[in-house]
């Protein structure tokens, strides 16, 4: 096979940041940093031959160019190809399509059984796939069992449960609700104030997480961290033109107000008065859905922007829809991570949002 052209495998994406670029392999879910020079060369190689690249960069640079390509071949991120093969390998089409109107939802501190019945059928009408039930105050085991059973005959496929710890939340109880509700794919228990915090485990398809911190309002959410990065094709595709947190999301806060997220003030009516379908078709509801990382200040210069999550509820400038997530400690201009909550520049905004950081 002659090595006239170089091609990155179409499911490996190269994203240019301010100082460096990131290649992420969406098939093997791996990432590597590469210099921005290499980014330019890889992009050039899409349209011209390796020989032409040598000529453009001067033959003195041949060695370094070869080194770049060879290293990508070695890490199996790309391949050499012949002239004839150039037409064989298109890029992945990054269009995002979903058959569902709403894919995910958050119900905050909802306790009224009658209301659940109404909300579940309204969520079904929107094809909602995932529901997260969030509780800050005590939830009895009986109550939890009862609400979970309301979902049994619904078309909702997955349920996440966020509940405070108490001594009745034994491993046996957790196990029991998991085996009775195959839809449960996440249980997060907060305020675990015991000496021996139970270990996080996965039971069947359910991920069970214990945290010490007590959640008293939705400001627990919105953290940006390397551990939440998602180098998957699905995420990449959605992130091109959509906000990966708020796209196709609906929430009902503890007061019954319908919102994009419980922590975002904009209110699209109360569930007492309007249906979820009416709310999402209200002018402005879908506005945040299309704010992608490419439009967000700082993030747009960040090499992580297509694998990173986002948050529009807590941003560095609360008045600006396009401001960087407050709870991100990364600086793409210096490539350093630091603790966001102790950053002196952020203290005023942290106070503004009334976020407890300790």
């Amino acid at each position: 096979m002659n090595k006239k052209y170089f091609n990155l495998f179409a499911n490996c994406f190269i994203v240019k940041g301010y100082n460096r670029s990131l290649i992420f392999d969406s098939q093997r879910m791996k990432t590597v940093f590469v210099p921005n020079d290499m980014y330019d060369i890889v992009i050039k190689a899409k349209s011209i031959s390796i020989q032409q690249i040598y000529e453009e960069y001067g033959i003195d640079n041949k060695e370094i160019i070869d080194e770049y390509f060879d290293s990508l071949i070695e890490s199996e991120l790309g391949f050499y190809m012949s002239e004839k093969e150039r037409d064989f390998f298109p890029e992945i089409n990054t269009a995002y399509h979903s058959p569902f109107q709403i894919t995910n939802s958050v119900l905050e501190e909802m306790r009224d059984m009658k209301l659940y019945k109404k909300v579940i059928s309204q969520l079904e009408a929107l094809d909602c796939q995932y529901v997260e039930l969030v509780f800050y105050n005590n939830t009895s085991n009986e109550f939890l069992t009862n609400i979970l059973s309301l979902f049994k005959l619904s078309s909702i496929k997955f349920i996440g449960l966020i509940i405070p710890y108490d001594s009745t939340k034994t491993p046996e109880f957790i196990k029991k609700i998991c085996s009775q509700n195959l839809r449960l794919n996440k249980i997060l228990v907060h305020n675990v104030q015991v000496q021996e915090k139970p270990k996080n485990i996965t039971l069947g398809l359910t991920e069970i997480i214990y945290v010490n911190k007590e959640f008293t309002n939705f400001s627990y959410c919105g953290n940006i961290s390397k551990k939440f990065f998602s180098p998957s094709l699905e995420h990449y595709v959605e992130s091109q033109n959509h906000n990966t947190c708020l796209n196709q999301k609906i929430s009902i806060d503890s007061q019954g107000n319908i919102k994009n997220c419980p922590a975002i003030p904009n209110n699209f009516g109360n569930i007492k008065d309007v249906t979820l379908t009416e709310a999402i078709n209200t002018q402005g509801y879908k506005q945040l859905w299309s704010i992608s990382k490419d439009h967000i200040e700082v993030c747009k210069d960040c090499e992580f922007r297509h694998i990173c999550t986002d948050c529009r509820a807590f941003t560095e400038n609360p008045k600006d829809n396009y401001s960087k997530p407050l709870k991100c400690g990364y600086n793409p201009y210096t490539n350093e991570w630091s603790e966001w909550s102790t950053n002196p520049l952020k203290q005023k905004t942290i106070e503004y949002y009334n976020i407890e950081t300790s």
């Binding site: 096979m1 495998f9 179409a10 499911n11 098939q27 093997r28 199996e76 391949f79 012949s82 004839k84 093969e85 037409d87 064989f88 390998f89 298109p90 890029e91 992945i92 089409n93 990054t94 269009a95 399509h97 058959p99 569902f100 094809d127 094709l233 595709v237």
Partner: protein, 314 residues
């Protein structure tokens, strides 16, 4: 109304249905295990299932995904009458499938079970390259084949079946390299021996009514996947990326599909290091999710949209 004939576990059907609901095309799904009682009313046929019924005349388009229709008829205990009815029944079923196949469709029950040996012959008739194949049942002949050329040979199943199960064990049937004929008896069960084709990459092509969605599988960098891609390599999965099949190959595939009277199917090919395209097989009921996801093709959406178009075209 769209009729979907499928099996209960088929996940693709579910995903296509999500899109059908989105588009607003009404559908009826029948799984292989659902018993169907037929009754004949004037010029129509009524399909009665456990919880619903419909008339043949309501159906405007059919998607035969996989499986069969499970008709229930009254069968008497008398043997000779039974035998007679069985034959009658066979013709009756044929007629129902015929009636369904007269409607616009994606695939038909009658054509779904292809014969690999016939397909290979037809493929070479339309000018596609195919691997040299032999049916062998004798040691001496096998030896001759294996020593006649320098190329390697492999043996695979004729039917394409992937597993044999008995009460105690499950065998997975994989393509196996043949080194010599030493361990075979003088005469043996007829087996398919195929010349081993060196590959630069494999292709999985989803074909539907003249359109192509293709994926290349790079699997050479690891020994374990060299002969059969079903020996999945978990640590370093094969590289699956979108591919454009050249026009002249597409033309030949279209001709082949016409010859086989198939309007939809998954096609396997090999591209050799010399960039020759070698046809391996076509599977009308193959899984297309494995081509769809890695390439972001949204094939479930494509299938739903096509069914929608068909339902309006008539």
């Amino acid at each position: 109304m769209l009729l979907i004939i499928t099996s209960e576990q088929d996940h693709s059907s579910l995903l296509v249905i999500d899109w059908l609901n989105h588009i607003g095309l009404p559908w009826i799904r029948i799984n292989e295990k659902d018993a169907i009682e037929l009754s004949f009313i004037e010029n129509d046929i009524k399909f009665q299932l456990e919880s619903f019924s419909f008339l043949l005349s309501e159906i405007k388009v059919v998607w035969y995904r996989r499986g069969f229709l499970n008709f229930k008829f009254f069968i008497s205990k008398l043997f000779d009458v039974d035998e007679f009815r069985r034959i009658e029944l066979k013709k009756l079923k044929e007629y129902i499938y015929y009636k369904l196949s007269q409607l616009p469709n994606i695939n038909r029950f009658e054509n779904a079970d292809v014969n690999k040996l016939i397909v290979t012959e037809k493929a070479s008739e339309v000018g596609l390259l195919t691997p040299k194949e032999y049916l062998v049942s004798n040691k001496e002949i096998l030896q001759k084949i294996l020593t006649s050329t320098n190329t390697e040979h492999a043996t695979k199943s004729i039917s394409g079946y992937g597993t044999i199960s008995s009460d105690t064990v499950n065998y997975k049937i994989l393509t196996k390299k043949l080194d010599d004929a030493n361990s075979t008896p003088e005469n043996f069960f007829p087996s398919l021996v195929q010349e081993y084709i060196e590959k630069r990459y494999e292709l999985r092509i989803f074909y539907m009514h003249g359109k192509f969605w293709s994926m290349a599988i790079f699997s050479q960098s690891d020994d374990t996947t060299e002969v059969d891609f079903r020996n999945y390599n978990i640590v370093k999965p094969n590289r699956n990326i979108p591919f454009n099949v050249p026009h002249h190959i597409k033309q030949k595939i279209i001709k082949l599909m016409e010859k086989l009277d198939l309007n939809c199917g998954s096609i396997d090919m090999i591209v050799t290091p010399q960039l020759e395209f070698v046809f391996l097989e076509v599977n009308p009921v193959g899984q297309f999710g494995m081509v769809s996801y890695p390439c972001n093709y949204y094939l479930h959406r494509e299938v739903a949209q096509h069914l929608h178009t068909l339902s309006h075209g008539s």
